[in-house]
């Protein structure tokens, strides 16, 4: 399997606070990698370091064989290849659903408007956003719809890698499902993804690898069955069992 992204000894400080303490991570082409861990463990910071929204203080990131942390790399070019989906959707508030998807295609990929609209329409349909919603503004869409538009905005750019930062945690449970279904479909199509999420059912079904992070370090990683059902480290076991408990309560409430 080919390595698409390699993070080597990533450190990040916010002032005096040491947020990432030497992260090493390999992501293979076509794999779905799920990161779990308590809040404040540095998951979001790590994700933002990978597309250089945050500049790491030490360490290197090799994307497709190129060290993107060294100077001289056009970071805007790299970001075209790495899609990002945010916890709070972050759709452009002044643009309609379809224009949100079209913007990057026209301004970054330099497509003609007709071509961009065609690509955008296809992306929107693939995440289940039907034509009646295309000309709505973000504020007029539900959270689940907004997040699916955000995913369409990212995948329409045809990225090599998709980073998703807790894509469902701002959503009501019933809206979570529609977003998770979209992500499962992407995973089946072998889109390379790194997803920060606490949806254990989803991780079990879709992840190739699960990483448990705590206090700025990777505690344990491995296939989902191992990390979620039979972890080696005590800390992982504690965290996963707590998540399992929440997951069970959640399911009981829904039934």
């Amino acid at each position: 399997m080919k390595t698409l992204l390699q993070a080597i000894d990533i450190h990040k400080y916010f002032g005096k606070q040491h947020v990432l303490k030497g992260i090493n991570l390999d992501v293979y082409e076509g794999e779905t990698l799920v990161i779990i861990g308590p809040s404040g463990s540095g998951k979001s910071t790590l994700l933002r370091c990978l597309n250089l929204l945050i500049k790491p203080d030490r360490g290197r990131i090799i994307f497709d064989g190129v060290d993107i942390t060294s100077g001289g790399v056009d970071i805007n070019k790299v970001r075209q290849e790495i899609g990002f989906v945010f916890q709070s959707y972050n759709l452009f508030a002044h643009l309609t659903a379809i224009e949100n998807v079209v913007l990057g295609l026209v301004k970054v990929k330099k497509m003609s408007r007709e071509e961009a609209r065609r690509v955008a329409a296809e992306a929107l349909l693939s995440v289940g956003i039907t034509e009646d919603l295309w000309s709505k503004y973000p504020a007029q869409l539900s959270g689940g719809q907004q997040q699916r538009v955000a995913i369409a905005r990212a995948i329409a750019m045809n990225p090599r890698l998709l980073l998703l930062d807790e894509p469902t945690s701002a959503l009501d449970p019933e809206l979570t499902v529609e977003v998770l279904n979209v992500l499962e479909k992407l995973s089946e199509k072998r889109m390379t993804m790194i997803i920060v999420t606490h949806q254990l059912g989803f991780a079990m079904r879709a992840a190739d690898e699960v990483v448990f992070m705590e206090d700025g370090k990777i505690v344990e990683k491995g296939p989902p069955e191992k990390i979620l059902l039979n972890p080696e480290k005590e800390r992982t076991r504690e965290f996963v069992s707590r998540l399992m408990e929440l997951y069970r309560m959640e399911r009981m409430r829904r039934q």
Partner: protein, 224 residues
Amino acid sequence: MSEVVNIFASYAPELLNALILTLEVTFLSFAIGLAGGVAIAISRASTPKPIKILITAFVELVRGTPMVVQLFFIYYALPSIGIKLDPFTASVFAMGLNSAVYQSEYWRTAIGSIPKTQWEAAYSLGLSTFGVLANVVLPQALRIAIPLLSNELIYLLKFSSIAYFVALPELVYTGKWIASKTFAYIEIYTIIAIFYIVITMILSEILVRLEKKLSIPGITIKRI
């Protein structure tokens, strides 16, 4: 009353010219202020420190002095270093500069109110900083700044009258000239005041409609 009608009838061409001059000065200086204001707001946020300090000093200099002083400086003091401007250009330039400083504050507030997450989302698509500003941040900031920009335009309309001091025949100057010929001070100044009141009302109406037309659900416009 017949006096008013008489004056109005016999000086109609002069009044019309004056009105056009007033509007020209107002809109031209607003345009200069708009371009300059956005430029100042952006460069105050992103340029290296020494330049930032210079710009801040300039902003405080303009905000701390009357517009008349600025106009006199440009019209009377600049010729001593070889820059001679005619009354119209000097007025437009002085007011445009003044407006740029005030508009930069409005734009700074508006740009600052766009969440950081919008920048992140735009950068993640691969847009450059300029691309993010032009396509994501400024279009949203514009909608937040519109009420403030409307006030600014109406303020400029009023303050175009300081061009009187450099003998530009705009409304107030023309009014004074007619008054000195007819001695009908109250009448002519009332006519001029009505000009300003009516233009202000028309402009306000247009601007409110523009604001409505540009409004987008979810982008809140703070009323002041």
